[in-house]
């Protein structure tokens, strides 16, 4: 039942930070995403579940330790579609399509910290419904955080004359999850934000994301967003 996209980073909704109304809008959007992760699709949820979702977001706001780190690297795209970033060599058609026309690439890692894992483990023991809702809310919360951070990064990069491509995570398309180790090491995530991985390339803490973001001199109009771009069209969680 675990959502495969816990570790992705593909949503591109915009976060607005100021004002109560905007806050409400953000919360509604996060709640909608959480419901999607819980399998509701576009259906409405009952008041009990919505109440639990609100409580879980409040709890995450108090407990989660959001941290992000990223570094910019030179990117070399070979004619055969091979991707070279420092010592890392990646073969992935979907990623090379995503990065086409980019000069540089950002490697980033973000996490909600071990505190969030502890909270989920705790509820797995006492209140499974809440554990499941917390899991979904954690995923939505992390996405929202990434979207907000990505906007900041975009502003920063704009000063240097670069535009951002949609973020792309290992394990997506044919971008092998086995590159996780190199990404973590090159972005220095263990030291900077406490983000590490297991032998099976799973991120720890579990509510974490790594991603690549291409930087190009040309602004591309990216209509296709993360979820919709995925080939797995029969996915139960598809937007």
């Amino acid at each position: 039942m675990t959502d495969p996209r816990m570790n992705d980073g593909m949503a591109n909704d915009r976060m607005v930070n100021d004002g109560m109304a905007d806050d409400l809008m953000m919360n509604n959007r996060m709640a909608r995403e959480a419901l999607r992760y819980l399998g509701y699709g576009t259906q409405e949820a009952d008041e009990d579940t919505l109440g639990m979702i609100r409580e879980c977001f409040a709890q995450l706001k108090r407990t989660a330790k959001k941290r992000i780190v990223y570094r910019v690297f030179d990117l070399h795209l070979g004619e055969d579609g091979n991707i070279e970033i420092g010592n890392m060599r990646i073969e992935s058609r979907s990623l090379s399509k995503n990065l086409k026309g980019c000069e540089k690439v950002i490697l980033l890692g973000a996490t909600l910290g071990v505190e969030t894992d502890l909270l989920m483990k705790r509820y797995s023991c006492t209140d499974m419904a809440r554990a499941v809702v917390l899991q979904a809310c954690g995923a939505a919360f992390l996405e929202e955080y990434l979207d907000g951070s990505q906007q900041e990064i975009a502003r920063e990069m704009a000063e240097e004359g670069y535009y951002l491509r949609p973020r792309f995570s290992p394990g997506y398309g044919d971008f092998s999850i086995l590159h996780q180790r190199e990404i973590l090491s090159m972005a220095d995530t263990a030291r900077r934000i406490g983000l590490t991985m297991t032998e099976g390339s799973m991120l720890t803490p579990t509510k974490s994301v790594t991603a690549l973001i291409g930087l190009s001199r040309k602004q591309e109009d990216c209509h296709i967003k993360g979820c919709e771009a995925c080939q797995k069209t029969d996915c139960a969680y598809r937007r």
Binding site: T2, V72, K121, A129, S185, T198, G200
Partner: protein, 806 residues
């Protein structure tokens, strides 16, 4: 000698190497440690510059040289470490021109992995990796072991133990704190310092993460709790990025100015981390030398705080009362004993969580029961408790093997219960406290028994404190238990205890602890006596009561005492607890819902109440079959149809679980045996740490009366097989999240097929589908949790039919 100078003279470390290596051509993603062999001259040159700049201690380029982080098929770790230390030595020969005594430090950095339970690296494996490099370093001629840039108390504990147990070198340890004084894994300054000092590091401190200015407040906090010399190694500011390059922009002059302040605050060892250069160190040395009291440093001040800690929290003993929750203990508890025998860890964890929710600061952990492997169970319970609660734990056992094993794997500085005045006991317990650190409960009893008088108990306390001193264990790490004897057999019992409490505090200035509820043994309405005695004991100087935090009477005493003694600012906590509450206990109202409706709606309290009402008139088994199962079936069908969603399904499951507990109690009261349950093993496969799917299936299977043997996450195929054979289980459920771990799922299935062919395997998880499940040879693919329940029901119904046919 380093240790002789430590804490008396100021000592200078070196600065960063990463930036310098990059300047010399180290590529992103390249292993810097390889340069010890491939670019020996460049390495020696960097070290030499630091010695020339005035560093007394230069660290080897071995930050990532451990088997868990250093993945290279071309180079041998031992060659790297040996060359690295030799390079530092060579640099000392070339760079020290004034004949001063200098040191080569073996640098040990983190493994880059998160330890269990949050990650997949076991404490033992982390220990082994650190041991390997520590031993190599000592053989190569290092003068000290410097463990640095640590973010996790558990990992640093493994490293310190490995260094101390396997080498004779001085051991230093420094951690990364953020501006708020927190580790990335959540620990705070007092908890880190308490643990490291307990492990007897020779110096501790802070490095990396921030620049010198940002470190000032954290340094103040470290100095306020640390008794050993403090190390400070900042970055040259916060990392910045431009044009793809990470850089640090605090210049040597500015760096040095702040380092002077840091020395004047009381740091005894100073140096630099990322972005600092020989220029920074040279300027720092120059400016510091120009100031008083150089060459002396401000000597570390011994602190008298009694502190226990977990990875996240430190608890100080003193004026404010500390609550030690007593409920994780089988003594006199039938259900708890059963849970221990059944290996029902959830039950034990819930006891921990509910005590935490009710205000406990520390949890006592006692799992002593004849016929169980106490050492193994203690270790397991401690690990599991630490994965759901950040409260410090009190290891409560008379089995010294269990005590040591628990202290070793405990993440933090534990409380240990207990030692007493018998020589034999002190000989057993004090070496453990000396080695692992801990605050030990000392019972005032010795070879002659429990003294009748307060003076007698105070005398035993003195004897224990004196004996501890021989080991170098400070009295701040001893809390005295003057023992409460029941007043039903000893009318002066309470008076003696209270008097002894006061005297022990006055005479030795130590903290105290007491198992409060003993006082009322054999009397009716014990909470009344307990709560009043608790208040009296607090008033007489009790630092920590071992009590039941679920007892409303005890907690009222506690909150009232805090309010009365002005430990509760503006009575805030008291008001939060009791505002709007009448003094009489609230009467539970009937909701009027039937059990079936309560389960359908997923209402726990109502389900509990309805079940209680219903057992008065109906047989438990008919309640299950006529009320509960139909309700669960209805919810399950709704889930399949898409009218009920996962959270609701689980709310109903939780409500049913509570009702089941009521019925189970009723059944055992009547002496009726429960129906024999079918056993199902569940496990998240090796390499996989996402277990929420498995946990969902577990809750639902339990609803349908299956006996679930939950093996947890990251479970090796052999472990699954072993359990399947031992329990003779016919159905195993496996979950896996990613393609990388489905491989382990396949391995597990193969092993089961070979060794236990009558066992069926059902699988589930995000990346699986029917095709994939067929490919790895599973018997059944559950696309959601309910499907697994249906499969299990079908399978066992089939089995029963077969039996009937025979």
């Amino acid at each position: 000698m380093l240790l002789e100078r430590l804490g008396k003279e100021l000592l200078f470390f070196d600065g960063g190497t990463g930036t310098l290596l990059q300047e010399k051509g180290l590529k992103p993603g390249e292993l810097p440690e390889v340069w010890n062999l491939l670019h020996k001259e460049e390495m020696v040159d960097i070290h030499r510059q630091y010695y020339e700049a005035g560093s007394d201690i230069v660290l080897s380029n071995t930050f990532g040289a451990n088997a868990l982080k250093f993945h290279s098929t071309d180079y041998d770790l031992k060659d790297i470490v040996t060359a690295a230390v030799a390079n530092v030595r060579e640099a000392a020969r070339l760079g020290v021109h004034d004949g001063r005594e200098v040191f080569a430090g073996l640098d040990i950095g983190p493994t880059g992995k998160l330890l269990k339970p949050m990650g997949d690296l076991s404490f033992a494996d982390a220990y082994a990796a650190f041991r390997e490099v520590a031993v190599m370093g000592e053989e190569a001629g290092a003068d000290l072991i410097h463990i640095e840039t640590m973010s996790d108390t558990y990992e640093v504990k493994a490293a310190v133990l490995a260094a101390k147990e396997n080498t004779g070198l001085p051991v230093f340890a420094t951690m990364i704190f953020d501006e708020k004084g927190k580790l990335l894994t959540g620990g705070d300054v007092p908890s880190v310092v308490a643990m490291l000092e307990g492990l007897r590091v020779d110096a501790l401190g802070i490095n990396c993460g921030m620049g010198p200015t940002q470190m000032l407040p954290v340094l103040d906090e470290i100095l306020s709790v640390a008794s050993v010399p403090v190390i400070v190694k900042p970055n040259a500011g916060l990392p910045k990025q431009k044009n793809g390059q990470v850089y640090y922009d605090v210049r040597p002059e500015e760096f040095a100015e702040v380092m002077v302040r840091i020395v004047k605050k009381g740091a005894c060892l100073v140096g630099g981390c990322c972005g600092t250069t020989p220029g920074h160190i040279r300027e720092m040395v120059r400016q510091v030398k120009a100031e008083e009291p150089f060459p002396a440093c401000i000597p570390p001040v011994r602190k008298n705080h009694t502190i226990v800690s977990s990875y996240g929290k430190a608890v100080f003993f003193g004026e404010r009362p500390v609550i030690i929750g007593e409920r994780i203990n089988p003594t006199g508890k039938k259900k708890f004993k059963q849970a221990l025998k059944d290996h029902d860890l959830d039950y034990i964890l819930k006891e921990g969580i509910s005590q935490q929710d009710n205000g406990a600061h520390i949890l006592d952990v006692n799992v002593g029961l004849p016929d169980i492997d106490e050492k193994a169970v203690m270790v397991e319970v401690i690990k599991e408790l630490q994965s759901v609660s950040s409260l410090p734990l009190q290891i409560d056992t008379v089995d010294e093997k269990a005590m040591e094993a628990a202290m070793r794997i405990y993440n933090g500085k534990p409380m240990v219960n207990s030692v007493n005045g018998k020589q034999e006991e002190m000989d057993k317990v004090f070496p453990l406290i000396k080695k692992y650190g801990g605050v030990v409960v000392a019972l005032t009893i010795d070879e002659d028994g429990i003294p009748d008088t307060a003076e007698g108990r105070v005398r035993v306390a003195g004897k224990i404190i004196g004996e501890a001193e021989k080991y170098g264990i400070d009295r701040k790490d001893i809390v005295i238990d003057v023992l409460a004897m029941t007043i039903s057999s000893d009318p002066d019992g309470a008076k003696t205890t209270l008097k002894a409490l006061r005297q022990v505090r006055e005479k030795y200035g130590v903290c105290t602890v007491l198992g409060v509820s003993n006082i009322s043994f054999g009397l009716p309405c014990r909470p009344v006596i307990n709560a009043n005695f608790y208040t009296m004991a607090l008033q007489s100087g009790l630092s920590a009561g071992i009590i039941n935090p679920l007892s409303e009477d005890m907690m009222r005493s506690y909150y009232a005492y805090r309010a009365l003694m002005n430990y509760d600012e503006n009575c805030e906590e008291y008001i939060r607890q009791y505002a709007g509450q009448k003094t009489a206990a609230p009467v539970q109202k009937a909701s009027g819902l039937t059990l079936k409706t309560a389960i359908l709606k997923g209402l726990k309290e109502e389900a509990h109440h309805a079940a209680r009402e219903m057992v008065k008139t109906k047989e438990p088994l008919s309640i299950i079959n006529e009320e509960m199962i139909p309700a669960l079936d209805e919810v399950g069908k709704g889930f399949e149809k898409g009218t009920v969603f996962l959270p609701q399904l689980l709310m109903s499951a939780d409500a049913a679980k509570i009702a089941f507990a009521v019925l189970k109690e009723e059944l055992s009261k009547k002496g009726t045996d429960e129906q024999k349950k079918e056993k199902v093993i569940l496990a998240t496969v090796k390499g996989d740490i996402h277990d929420i799917g498995k946990n969902i299936v577990k809750v639902l299977l339990e609803n349908y009366s299956f006996d679930v043997i939950d093996l947890g996450k990251d479970v090796a195929p052999e472990t699954v097989l072993e359990a399947a054979v031992r329990e003779d289980v016919r159905l195993v459920g496996l979950s896996a999240l990613m393609t990388t771990t489905v491989v382990s799922m396949e391995d597990t299935i193969k092993l089961l097929r070979k060794e236990k062919p009558d066992c069926r395997v059902m699988v589930g998880g995000a990346v699986l589908n029917q095709e994939y499940a067929d490919m790895i040879g599973a018997d059944f693919y559950g696309k959601d949790a309910m499907q697994s329940v249906y499969y299990a029901k079908e399978l066992f119904a089939g089995k029963n039919d077969k039996k009937n046919d025979n």
